[in-house]
Symmetry: C4
Subunit: 278 residues, 4 copies
């Protein structure tokens, strides 16, 4: 098939792909930054549309802007489909779906009034902001954070499971204590909601204990939360320190290619070959 | 006594024990997961029963579900007692008591109306969710966390004792400052409750200082709490880092004695000699 | 003078001193624990006295208990003065003053009605709870915490100074934004109080921004507070890790007595002498 | 030009410069501390002026003090311009602009009534408090903190970007859930404000979910925030530990090359050889 395409068209396709998908060329950088600005503007418009007084005054302006953004994004979506090597694979990828869902609601609103609820999906396009990290050295730092969080996934799961059981227990006990009184603890689910609000130290104050025994128990829960909040912090901190340490020796063994040697390593830990003196 | 039991019955006992108490065999895994789902469902029912509108509409459904769960748990409890080698030891163990208390309230409710308060005990069965950790590698991570918390127990006790004394002091001073005014500080215990709410950064806002001097003192308490909250975090983090370090390869090289090898190390990083296979 | 004291009296003095001031002998331990329980009870009574309904019902009981505690503490105070080697030095020490102030208000209340405000000082006696730590290995852990906090004093001072300046700046800006509106920001001091409540993530909600621009600025302040709260935690954690590391090698040099050697140290870092193999 | 200035005047210029700009000489120290006290007093006056009752009673006193401070600061500003080698460079530096803006509003208030809003700028002069750190060893600690924060800038940027996107997403979803009901979620920006208040665990409680599904989603957000708050702490802690380690003795033994000696080490911990005096 690629043989049938005239040479110029093939070149155009390559050029478009370079501009839209790559961020390393100057023109690709400009495109990425411009796209980012347009997406941000479009999200701001969606947000402002939800503010009643503004909607009443600038409703028409918002509508026009909405259509401009939609048309721009539609053209971009078509160009992406056209220039990519495997259009179908892009279409079913995370960003492919988000890109499609970001333009659909506006078209649907022509037929179905009140599809404003779906405009929210465009917010997800903001995730593309992370593409800009390709432009700098931020990507390495981001990767380290993701790696640290992924490495501590198991511990955090154990911890969160424990915390959730604890909140159910605390909430139930609190319901027994404060349930009868005219306080906010009208049901166990609400009491569990209160327990989460308290243990995470958010503390809205929409539901608060009113009986002395309830306040005493709450105080105990807070002191407990004090000790508990230290755990996820400790887990993540330990992992970040470890990842940061592993990243210091960037040397790869010349024989087996193994990486992640310690700073003081003089021999490859994987094949025993001598590493370069540093 | 075991000699008097017919061979088949003995085998049955073994089989039941394997299913109920062990999580390593396929059928044991299935049982554990099924039990976990039933317990969760039963806890959800207890929680929903406490929601007034739902109780009014689905009260009868809840009652029937309650009895089904109770009968299932009763059969499970009897099987546990039957299949375990030392029934009495199980009966007085933590989970043995919880299992018994999780079925008793429903039976008692036949005689004693209003024993709903004891249904709460069933929530404790949720703790059995941690059995599922046996199924994966989560148990190792959980053990590390428990070990880290246990190791820092002494420090956390010292810290919490200090914090509790501090809250009594702060609460008393605040009662002297705001006690006369029409604010929430109506007694020293309430003021201590406020001090705990503030120092732990929960901050409900149900009791807040209204006098300028009270607000000034509160601000100082918050700044203090800022520095204090760092302490438990530091304790637990230090311990997790230490535990994590200890859990990595404890092998010392047989030739040069170097330690601190990575988990995936097969050769000594210091002299290049082969390490023992693990 | 000590020569004039009969032998028995001298022995009695020694005995009393051993009981009251030392916590290492069995009888000293018993005394310490008993004293701790009495002080706790006395503090609980002071706290309960401030609760209006209890005061009305049990006022007389509280008064009697108050006098019993005061007499016990007075006897204890006299015995301390009698048995200690340098009575004056004890009298002007921190605990000496606290001990005196803990009994005075009750006597003063005979002449001056309404001296209840001074009863608060007795709360300080609770600090004596830390004496019980002498009984276990808690003292070591407490010392490590104190050492870690003392070592990070300079950094925490710099940090808190910066935070305080920041809150004045943030509070002033917020006053300019929200000052005119009918919100809680009625003066700069109040706005600074709000800034501290927000930055420390306490978040009472007694003063909250009502204008969109005020809420936008608040959100920025919170995100900032997010990054800032990490700093004291980091300082203290780093220090605790360091202290913990230093405490692992407990060996003192046999020649110069220097301590605090690293775990992998084979020679004294202070005089160069060989340390014991471990 | 410097040749034309009489010797005495040149010396005077040097003397003034030494007093005002240097903090190492005794007289420079005295000047710095005095200036700090005056600035603090002036900021306190600005703050108190905003308190209505005080303004009504002491308005005139505040005005007089305001003028005294302004005149003192004006003289100081002129002396700074006079004594510095490059007056223009100082004038356009951060502190040069702050110094100018700290005296202008008072003069403008003679012509323009209601320029009180600009008085706020004087608060920025408080930043000069950090000059006092030159007086002690605090500067080293402050530098370490700044260095640690600067080193973790990239990671914190990545993290904060992610958090901000997350809050927009969470806020939008919450607006869809609670938007119709009579709760505080009247627009997406307000819902995003709520999301930030919740994720940072500030938790004012001015906007709280009222529907069960909204409370369930909030609880999930809080649990998420629990895990997320650990990230900045981990980043900063890891950096402070690293900086702290780098600041200790960087000396390597001349005989065996061992590094990582303590600050107080005088002999190599590995081979016992004498280290260089520092």
């Amino acid at each position: 098939m690629s043989g049938e395409i005239p040479h110029e068209r093939h070149e155009l396709k390559e050029k478009i792909h370079e501009i839209i998908f790559e961020a390393d060329t100057p023109v690709g950088k400009v495109f990425d930054v411009a796209l980012l600005i347009i997406i941000s503007a479009s999200v701001v418009v969606v947000m402002l549309e939800s503010v009643m007084p503004l909607q009443e005054r600038f409703g028409q302006v918002f509508d026009i802007l909405e259509w401009i953004f939609t048309i721009v994004f539609t053209i971009e979506y078509i160009l992406r489909l056209y220039s990519v090597y495997r259009p179908f694979k892009y279409a079913i990828s995370f960003f492919g779906i988000v890109d499609l869902l970001s333009i659909l609601p506006t078209y649907i609103s022509l037929i179905l009034v009140g599809s404003e609820y779906f405009l929210i999906i465009r917010v997800l396009r903001l995730l593309r902001v992370f593409r800009i990290f390709k432009l700098g050295h931020f990507i390495k730092e981001g990767a380290l954070l993701v790696k640290a969080l992924r490495a501590s996934r198991a511990r955090i799961t154990v911890f969160l499971t424990f915390v959730m059981l604890l909140t159910v227990l605390i909430g139930s006990i609190m319901y027994l204590i404060e349930g009868g009184v005219d306080s906010g603890f009208t049901s166990i689910p609400r009491a569990v909601y209160w327990a989460i609000v308290t243990l995470t130290t958010v503390g809205y104050g929409d539901i608060t204990p009113v009986t002395p025994i309830g306040q005493f128990f709450s105080a105990a829960v807070m002191i407990l939360g004090y000790a508990i909040i230290a755990v996820p912090t400790g887990i993540v901190t330990a992992e970040i320190i470890k990842e940061g340490r592993n990243m210091t020796n960037t040397q790869a063994c010349r024989y087996c290619g193994a990486e992640g040697h310690d700073d003081d390593a003089r021999y490859c830990k994987s094949c025993g070959a001598k590493l370069n003196e540093r």
